[in-house]
């Protein structure tokens, strides 16, 4: 058998047969299922545990009707400010809002204040402000000479829809995605970018550790008296990569099953009141908007999977190859001290994190200069290009990006191989980045 194949086989089999592999492969989807389940639970609980707010309006101008709310209950109090300040918690309120006397038409801004049992979030403060503004507005409308019906006519809500969605617009030219599909695309985009980020770090560091183990246990000298260092490095990268693909394949089967099971468990009538609550919430959501699920499925189906999936796999493999070979180079240079690896890993961590930071900018402007640059540079493209894919970038950009990626794979594995072959035989010296650079130019 070919020597590289033998190495791939050993790297693959020794990992897949480990107990920890089985545990991680099975427990991760279970963990995801648990998180979804808990998230559902908390979402249901979150809407249930609403705040109770007592409002002391010294001018007495706000009406109880104006303060009615769905999630937050507002109660007007007749008590004195001083006593209410001390007793609002005892009386079962979470927050007290104090509105000092309001002198009409003198100030654009009216300063009001609050006392709260717990620290308020920015969102909660804004919610209260909005509510008070609306109540004041209602009051002012009530007491103004303006015609209420005429005012109502001023309000207008604009809905922007893509005309291409309309069946009658067959001859028109343009993109056919709806607002909804943009949201789905963004989610998909971030999901794929994040998956690449995880793959790079999890499997990249797996390759790095494995290189370090071989170096520390000194088996490496025996190995490279039988095979070339590059064969050893390549065999390791491919072997670990196959482990990753196996794990992904298992997850692709298990995760949908678990998600279906948990959703069904949450949908079915359950013993605990929280579960019933969740089921009700889901039902209510469906009643309010009966075709949400349908649109979602339709939009999901309309995504160009035939393009996205194969291209994603190409970038998945390319990104994995580039980064894991660089991680292998770092591992070869580190030796027995794991602490030393931090400094050497920096040049690898930075581009990955930069690419992650670029993702939001990519889906605000999927064809902007930053997105295009990011999807061309081989250290960024494995994360940025998959993130752009749901927004259907021009074909020539995908093709060019793949070409550059392949060039990147060849260049970086070659570079890593140069460093690796020197590093694995180097002992007892703390290696700096500068030295790593020098190793590239060593003779064999």
């Amino acid at each position: 058998m070919n020597k590289t194949l033998l190495i791939i086989k050993r790297e693959y089999v020794s990992r897949v047969l480990k107990k920890s592999f089985l545990l991680v492969t099975l427990l991760t989807p279970l963990g995801i299922g648990l998180i979804i389940f808990l998230a559902g639970l908390f979402a249901a609980k979150g809407s249930q545990s609403s705040k109770k707010i007592v409002v002391k309006d010294e001018s007495g101008i706000l009406s109880p009707q104006a303060l009615e709310g769905k999630e937050i209950t507002y109660v007007l109090s007749a008590d004195k400010v001083d006593s209410l300040k001390k007793n609002y918690v005892k009386e079962g309120y979470d927050i007290m809002v104090h509105i000092p006397p309001y002198v009409e038409d003198t100030l654009a801004t009216h300063q009001i204040s609050y006392y709260s049992k717990e620290k308020l979030s920015l969102l909660q403060i804004e919610q209260i402000e909005e509510k008070m503004e609306k109540a004041f507005r209602d009051y002012k409308l009530e007491h103004s000479s303006l015609d209420k019906i005429a005012l109502k006519k001023l309000d207008i809500k604009i809905k922007l829809e893509n005309a291409m969605l309309n069946e009658t617009d067959k001859d028109a030219v343009g993109d056919k995605s709806s607002k909804f599909s943009s949201a789905i695309a963004s989610g998909l985009s971030y999901g794929m970018g994040f998956l690449m980020y995880l793959v790079i770090f999890i499997f990249g560091s797996m390759v790095m550790r494995s290189v370090m183990e071989e170096k520390i246990s000194r088996i490496v000298e025996v190995m490279i008296s039988s095979v070339k260092p590059f064969q050893l490095m390549l065999g390791k990268i491919v072997g670990v990569g196959l482990v990753g693909l196996t794990q992904l394949a298992i997850w692709m089967i298990i995760i949908p099953v678990i998600i279906t099971v948990t959703t069904m468990a949450m949908g079915a009538p359950a013993a605990s009141p929280e579960l019933n609550q969740t089921a009700e919430t889901i039902q209510k959501l469906q009643q309010e908007n009966p075709d949400v699920m349908q649109t979602f499925l339709k939009e999901l189906g309309s995504i160009n999977w035939a393009l996205i999936l194969p291209v994603f796999v190409v970038f998945f493999l390319g990104g994995y190859f580039i980064y894991s070979s660089l991680f292998a180079a770092v591992g070869s240079a580190v030796g027995d001290d794991i602490g030393d690896s931090q400094q050497l890993m920096m040049p690898l961590t930075i581009p990955v994190i930069l690419a992650m930071v670029m993702i939001p900018a990519v889906f605000t402007n999927p064809n902007g200069p930053l997105a295009v640059f990011g999807s061309m540079f081989p250290l960024f493209s494995p994360i940025i290009m998959p993130a752009r894919l749901p927004f259907e970038p021009p074909g020539w950009q995908i093709a060019l990006s793949i070409l550059l990626l392949i060039a990147g794979v060849l260049f970086f594995t070659w570079l890593a191989g140069r460093i690796y072959r020197v590093g694995i035989l180097m002992y007892g010296k703390k290696v700096t980045l500068k030295e790593l650079g020098k190793w590239m130019f060593y003779k064999d």
Binding site: M1, K3, L6, I7, R10, S14, E214, S217, R218, I219, V220, E221, V222, M223, I224, S225, S226, V227, L425, M426, Y427, G428, K429, K443, D444
Partner: protein, 310 residues
């Protein structure tokens, strides 16, 4: 016929020369000692022969052919720093290493079974390396070195870390392999082992070959014409004739040097004629250890810093 020919090999690292036009031959079927102090260039040379690194200049012939990609399969190499995959089972590990040397699955299994029986390791087949004692691991390492039936065995300090029992066992196996025609290159700085085991040696220091010959010839070359004589009459009762120079006298034995133009037989004749009975008479040959120290210290001009590549 030579199993190995090293011709004018040069290897230069960034700031020093590891091998400086080194040349020597290893006879097929011999046990060859590669000697030298730490940092002399032994490991660099071995790494070049095993294909781990390449020479900058010069040629290396293995069994008459320039080094090629097939040669690693014909060499068994046990580095000074031993290493095995700790979490791997003994048999899996040996199968893997033998297959990487180009053996088929069946051949590898057969060979490993043979060695397991030979060294009494059958019970370790399914054990992990980390479960074995250090001595046991050494045995596994030895099997890994010889399982693929190499033509040339390169052992770098093979006896370090072995207890006397295992060292003897290993020595026995090395002899047996040698009898079957395997050539053995043996790198060490332990002279007594070399004197005992090797036929030929090369002494290397700072990348240069200082000495290359059979052990016997080397010792002859460095002999100082000294003899030890034991008689039935105390040394102080008789004196040496002219042409013989006393080195040391002690009771009934005396050590002396034969001056140029004289033969040791002259003294024997003299003794026989004087009626002094000779009990023993033999030449004093210098130990390799002395020769080694003498040559290396001679060679050592202002000492240079040692290097990590050794």
């Amino acid at each position: 016929m030579n199993i190995l020919s090293i011709k004018e090999v040069v290897k230069v690292y960034q700031n020093y020369t590891a091998l400086d036009h080194a040349s020597f031959e290893v006879r097929k079927g011999s046990i060859f000692g590669l000697l030298g102090p730490n940092g002399a260039g032994k490991t660099t040379l071995i790494r070049i022969i095993t294909g781990i690194t390449r020479a900058d200049e010069g040629h290396i012939l293995l069994d008459g052919a320039p080094l090629n990609s097939h040669h690693p399969n014909e060499i068994g190499y046990m580095p000074e720093e031993r290493g095995l995959y700790k979490k791997m089972k003994v048999a899996d590990q040996l199968m893997y290493l033998a297959q990487l040397k180009g053996m088929s699955n069946e051949d590898a299994k057969k060979s490993i079974r043979f060695w397991f029986q030979r060294l009494g390791m059958e019970e370790w087949w399914n054990k992990k390396i980390e479960e074995l004692s250090k001595g046991m691991q050494q045995k596994v390492q030895f099997v890994a070195t010889v399982a693929h039936n190499p033509k040339l065995l390169i052992l770098d300090e093979p006896f370090t870390g072995l207890d006397p029992l295992n060292a003897d066992l290993l020595k026995e196996e090395i002899y047996k392999l040698n009898q079957k025609g395997v050539s053995i290159l043996f790198s060490t700085h332990r002279m007594e082992q070399v004197e005992e085991i090797c036929n030929d040696i090369v002494l290397i220091n700072k990348g240069k070959i200082l000495l290359n010959d059979s052990v016997k010839a080397v010792r002859n070359q460095f002999k100082q014409n000294q003899f030890v004589l034991q008689t039935d009459r105390a040394a102080n009762e008789w004196s040496l004739p002219s042409g013989f120079e006393e080195v040391e006298a002690d009771g009934y034995s005396r050590t002396f040097r034969v001056a140029a133009g004289h033969q040791s037989n002259e003294l024997l004749m003299h003794l026989i004629q004087s009626g002094i009975n000779i009990q023993s008479f033999h030449e004093v040959l210098p130990g390799l250890n002395e020769i080694f120290i003498k040559l290396v210290t001679q060679e050592t001009e202002p000492s240079q810093p040692q290097n990590h590549h050794s």
